[in-house]
């Protein structure tokens, strides 16, 4: 599983509240990613990181921010959660010169 842990695994929250999801890796990989998975859309990239404090936007970054203050942790924050952000969120890392991606177990988020 490439040593990737996502927390929490499940969360229910209310519209307008802030939410932070955590991705933790144990193998010192440089690249980390956040995706969301919704029916009919496959997986879509939200943000990614190419090093400590180095991040960039993906395809669906509006309403999300990220931080990476140390190599092992990549945080995804919903500043003010909306019902459209109800989804399953996956963290991934990529390894080696081929950038092969490996995924965490996912976080199921429901915004009521």
């Amino acid at each position: 599983d490439a040593g990737i842990t996502q927390s929490p695994r499940h969360k229910v929250t209310e519209t307008g509240t802030p939410v932070t999801l955590r991705c933790h890796q144990t193998e010192n990989h440089r690249y980390m990613y956040w995706y969301r998975q919704d029916p009919g859309h496959g997986l879509r990239l939200i943000h990614y990181s190419y090093g400590v404090k180095d991040t960039d936007k993906g395809e669906v970054s509006d309403g999300y921010s990220v931080s990476r203050s140390k190599t092992e942790d990549f945080l995804l924050t919903l500043e003010s959660a909306t019902s459209s952000q109800t989804s399953v969120y996956f963290c991934a890392i990529s390894t080696g010169p081929r950038n092969i991606q490996y995924f965490g177990a996912g976080t199921r988020l429901s915004v009521l």
Binding site: L43, R44, R98, N99, F103
Partner: protein
């Protein structure tokens, strides 16, 4: 951005049957990966295959980059092959990590 189309969207097989899943993409790519998402939601990397052919047990994959498609073959299917199969690609020329664009997947059901 690059478009990724997978077919068929759904496939139902009897155990022991063979199948071919297709991934078409709209532009030159330097990275193509196949993933399996099992019924419990876990995403597993099957192949890194930007060109050529690879085999791993009952699974094999072929990418014809000049014609912009990739095929995933599953032989002698088993019930444990059930789940969603995703193709993901990265545009040629990208150098920062692997910003993959996913197709919508093929939902495979293998009946005993």
């Amino acid at each position: 951005g690059i478009q990724v189309e997978q077919s068929p969207p759904d496939l139902i097989l009897q155990e022991g049957a063979n199948s071919t899943l297709r991934c078409n993409f709209s532009d030159s790519v330097n990275n193509l990966q196949w993933f399996h998402q099992n019924p419990w939601g876990q995403l597993i990397n099957l192949f890194y295959i930007p060109s050529g052919t690879k085999q791993n047990g009952r699974l094999s994959a072929t990418t014809v980059a000049t014609e912009r498609y990739s095929l995933l073959y599953i032989s002698s299917s088993q019930t444990t092959d059930s789940g969603v199969y995703f193709c993901a690609v990265e545009l040629g020329g990208e150098t920062s990590g692997s910003r993959l664009t996913f197709g919508e997947g093929t939902q495979l059901t293998v009946n005993p």
